[in-house]
Subunit: 479 residues, 2 copies
C-alpha cells in the first residue's frame, strides 16, 4: 500500500565526502534557495525566507526593546556622498554596482547601489541632530545591500544580500562604545540562544576592521568542518564620520560638539551558519526558534478509521503553542520522515491506531532521533520540552565541535603544523604588529579572527616574530 | 510656569490656501519624511516608517491567511530577461535605472533595478512549476522598486518606493481571475476598515492597463481636494508571460499546459492617501489601526503630587490593549496638545489633579475634538470605543466628501463644465473606444479612473462621440 505512493526523497552528498557539495545540495533540496540568471544573486524561496522572517522577528523585537527605531533610507548613494569619508570610500568603491543611466538618459553623477549606508545615515543625521536632547539617535533598517563580489555561494557570499544595519549617534564616546558592545552582546545572545550556535566574541585587528571604523567587534562561529564564519559585527566610529559630514550638536555646556557613532549588522549569512553548524547527512537541522515548522505531525496508517481525525485534532490543539504542520498527503510515512528530516523540522510527532488506543503518541527529535512516548494529555508540556531539548542538544554538539577543533600554537612550528593538518581555530600569541599578521596570512592563507574579550595567557612571545606578545589572537580559515 | 518651557509647534500652511504646500508641510513637520540628496528618493523617518510597518503587519497577516508565502527575488533584472515579454518591456524600459558597472568593470550585459518583478518571478516559476500539484503558487515579496520618474512628491511619486508585489500562478484562467478579484477585495477591505478610506473598485480601461496584463483592476480613492489616488491594483495576465517564459505544467489530463498568472501591489503611496484623506489644518490625522501611537496621555499640572504617578499607572495599564505613549516631558500641556495633533494621534487622554479626585479623565478625539469624560475604571472599554469612533468618524467624513464631489455628466457640455469648475469624480457613459478616451484626456487633462464593478445606467450614449455607450466610466484628475 505505502509502496505504491512512495516517492524517493532525493539523496544528498555525504558531508565527509564533499562538504561544499553537501552544503549546496541542502540549500537546493530543502528548498531554501533557487539560482537566478543574475550573477551572484539568489532567490530566497518560501522556506528559506520564512527562516529569515523568524530571525527578523526575534531581533527586531530585541532592537526595539532597547529603544531602536526602524527607518528606510534610499538604496542609491551619489558618488560624491560615498566619497566624503576617505577610508570608507577606499574600502567600498572597488566593489559597488554603479547606476549610470536613468531610462535613456545618462546621469550627470553616477549612483552606487548601497553596499552599506553609513554615508546616507550621516547625511540625514546632519539634518536632524541639533541638540544633546536629540541624542542618542538609535536607528536601524532592514534591507538588501550590494557588493560586487567575484565569487558567490548561497547565503555566505553574494552580490546582493538581505541584512539589517543599525546606525546610532551618541553624545559621548563612552555612550557610543557601550552601544557597540551592547549590540555585539545582543547578536551573541541571539546566536547562542535562538540559533544554538556558540560564538566567540572579540575585537578585529586593525587590518580586519570595517572601512572607516575605529574599532570593529565580531562574533565568530565555527562551522561543522572547522571553518570560521564571521556572523555579525558592530563598529565604533568615534566622531570621524561626524566630522566628515559636519554633524554637530549643542551640548549640555552650550558648546558645539561632534556626536559619536556606531553601526552594526547581521545578514542572511546567519542561515548559512545554521546549515553548516547543525546540518547532517539527512539534511537541514533547524533550531526551534527560527524553524518555519517546529513540529511535523505524521499519521501512521492514516487510512484506518480515526487516525486522521485524531491527527487533525492534535494539530488544532498544538497550533496554539507551536508552529505545527500536519502532513496528511498520500505519501508514505517513510517518505514523510525523510522529507521533514531534509527540511530540518526539529520535532516529529507520529500517531497511529495503536497509539490512539493507548492515548499516546511518539515524539522524535531531529538532532539525535531520540524517540519519546508521550501521553496525549501531556503534549502541551512535552512538545515545548522536546523543542528545548533539541535546542540544547544542538548547542552542546556545536560547542563540543568547537572545543575539539580549537588548537593552541606556542610557536611557529606548532602553528604551521596545525595550519597544515587541522581545520579549526588556532589560538596564538601576537606582538600586535600588522607585519606578522600579514606574514602568517601569506604563509598559511589563514586570517586572524579576533582578539577575544576573554584573552588567555598561553605564552609571552609572538608566534611569528618571537618578540614580546601583546595579545592572544584567534586564527582560522573562513567562509 | 508653563509659559517658560513652552515651545511653539511649527505652523503649517492651511489646506484651503495651498493644498500642495499643506501636504509637504505635514510630511516634514509630522516627521514622516526627510529629503535625501538622491533625486526623487526619500528617507522614511521612524514615525513614517512605523506607519508602513503597521500597514505591512496587517496586510501580511491577511495574505498569509489566504495561503500566500513570502519570498525574496534579486533587485536586478538582466536586460535580456526584461525583454522577454514585449508589452511589458515597452511599458517599463523607458523608466528604469541601469547598472552598467560593477566596481571598475563594465558589465557585458547591463542590469536594470527592478521596476516590478514579473520577469524574475516567471524565470523562477519555470524552474519550480512542473505539475498541477505545484499549483497554485502564491508568492509575495516586500521590497522597494525603482522607476525613473521625472517629478516626485513624498509617498505619491518617487524614484524608489517601498511596496509589496504578489505574484501567483494558477491551473486555470478562472482560478487566476478569482485570485485577481480576491486580492483587490483584500486591498479594498483594508483601505476601508483599517485606513478609513473609501475606495471605488473597478477595472482599468485597456489604455490604462498594466504593461503586459490582460486586465487590470484598481481601487480608486478620493483625496480631500477631490483629486483621485490610484491606491492599489491587481492584474490578470492570462498565460502571456507563461508562454514568453516557457512555463508549462503537466495537467490532470497528463497534457502540458500553460499556467495563468496574476500580480497585485500596494505601496507607501497609501500613506500619502491617508494624509490627504484625513489630514486637517492642525496636521496629520491617523486611522487607529495604523497609528504608531494610538493614545497619547498628557498629564495636566504634572508637578502636582500624584499626577505623574497616576498617568504612569494608566499608561502601564493601557499598554496591554493599545499603543500608548505618555508625554511627561516638561513642555506645556498646550504644546503637547498641538504636537500630538500634528502627529495625528487618534485619541488623547488628559488627566489632572481634579480628574484624579473624581476618579476620571478626559478623552479627546483627534478627528472632531469631541471630549468624553470617562471613569478611570472604564478605560479598558472606553479607549477602544473612542478609537473605533475615530475610525468611523473618519470614514464617514471621507465618504461624504467623495459623495459630494462625485458628479454626473450626461453629455459633453456637462462634462466640460464639471471638468472646468469642479474637482472630483465624473461619472459618464462611454462607447468603449480608446479614441474617445484619448480625446477627453487631451481636451480636459483628465484620465479615466475605472469602469466600476457596480455600473449605473446614466445614459445611452457616449459623452464624447454620441455613439451607443458600452460602459459607465469614472473620470478624475489624479496624483
Amino acid at each position: 500500500m505505502a509502496q505504491k505512493t512512495q516517492k524517493l526523497v532525493e539523496e544528498i552528498t555525504p558531508m565527509e565526502e564533499d562538504f561544499a557539495k553537501w552544503y549546496t545540495d541542502i540549500v537546493k533540496k530543502a528548498e531554501l534557495i533557487d539560482y537566478s540568471s543574475v550573477r551572484g544573486c539568489y532567490i530566497l524561496r518560501p522556506y528559506g525566507y520564512a527562516i529569515w522572517e523568524n530571525i527578523q522577528r526575534i531581533l527586531d523585537t530585541r532592537f526595539k526593546e532597547l529603544g531602536h527605531e526602524n527607518v528606510s533610507m534610499p538604496m542609491f548613494i551619489p558618488e560624491s556622498l560615498l566619497q566624503k569619508e576617505k577610508d570608507h570610500v577606499e574600502g567600498f568603491a572597488p566593489e559597488v554596482a554603479w547606476v549610470t543611466y536613468g531610462g535613456s538618459e545618462e546621469l550627470q553623477e553616477r549612483l552606487c547601489v548601497r553596499p552599506t549606508s553609513e554615508t546616507l545615515f550621516c547625511e540625514h543625521y546632519a539634518h536632524v541632530i541639533h541638540s544633546y536632547r536629540d541624542l542618542p539617535m538609535l536607528y536601524n533598517q532592514w534591507c538588501s545591500v550590494v557588493r560586487w563580489e567575484k565569487t558567490s555561494r548561497p547565503f555566505l557570499r553574494s552580490v546582493e544580500f538581505l541584512w539589517q544595519e543599525g546606525h546610532t549617534m551618541h553624545e559621548t564616546a563612552e555612550d557610543a562604545m557601550a552601544e557597540t558592545r551592547q549590540m555585539l552582546d545582543v547578536y551573541a545572545d541571539f546566536c547562542e540562544q535562538s540559533l544554538a550556535m556558540p560564538v566567540l566574541k572579540g575585537q578585529k585587528t586593525k587590518k580586519e576592521q570595517f572601512a572607516g571604523a575605529e574599532a570593529t567587534y565580531t562574533i565568530e562561529a565555527m562551522m561543522h568542518d572547522g571553518v570560521a564564519l564571521q556572523s555579525g559585527t558592530s563598529h565604533y566610529f568615534g566622531d570621524g564620520f561626524a566630522r566628515a559630514f559636519d554633524i554637530q550638536f549643542t551640548g549640555r555646556d552650550n558648546k558645539l560638539a561632534y556626536p559619536h557613532q556606531t553601526s552594526w549588522g547581521v545578514s542572511t549569512r546567519l542561515i548559512g551558519g545554521i546549515i553548516m553548524t547543525h546540518g547532517d547527512d539527512n539534511g537541514l537541522v533547524l533550531p526551534p526558534d527560527i524553524a518555519p515548522i517546529q513540529l511535523i505531525i505524521i499519521p501512521i496508517a492514516q487510512h484506518k478509521e480515526g487516525v486522521l481525525d485524531k491527527a487533525r485534532e492534535l494539530a488544532a490543539r498544538l497550533k496554539k503553542i507551536v508552529r505545527v504542520k500536519l502532513d496528511d498527503s498520500d505519501n508514505s510515512p517513510g517518505w514523510k520522515f525523510s522529507q521533514y528530516e531534509m527540511k530540518g523540522v526539529p520535532v516529529r510527532l507520529e500517531i497511529g491506531p495503536k497509539d490512539i488506543e493507548q492515548n499516546q503518541c511518539v515524539l522524535v527529535r531531529r538532532d539525535n532521533r531520540e524517540k519519546i512516548v508521550v501521553g496525549l494529555d501531556e503534549l502541551e508540556t512535552a512538545v515545548p520540552a522536546a523543542l528545548t531539548a533539541v535546542r540544547d542538544g544542538l548547542y552542546e554538539k556545536a560547542l563540543k565541535n568547537r572545543e575539539e577543533r580549537t588548537y593552541t600554537a606556542h610557536n611557529w612550528e606548532e602553528f604551521l603544523q596545525i595550519a597544515n593538518e587541522k581545520s579549526g581555530f588556532i589560538k596564538a600569541m601576537w606582538c600586535g604588529d600588522e607585519e606578522c599578521e600579514n606574514k602568517i596570512k601569506e604563509l598559511t592563507n589563514i586570517k586572524s579572527r579576533c582578539i577575544p574579550f576573554e584573552e588567555e595567557h598561553i605564552g609571552d612571545t609572538c608566534v611569528c616574530c618571537g618578540k614580546p606578545a601583546k595579545h592572544m589572537l584567534y586564527w582560522g580559515r573562513q567562509y
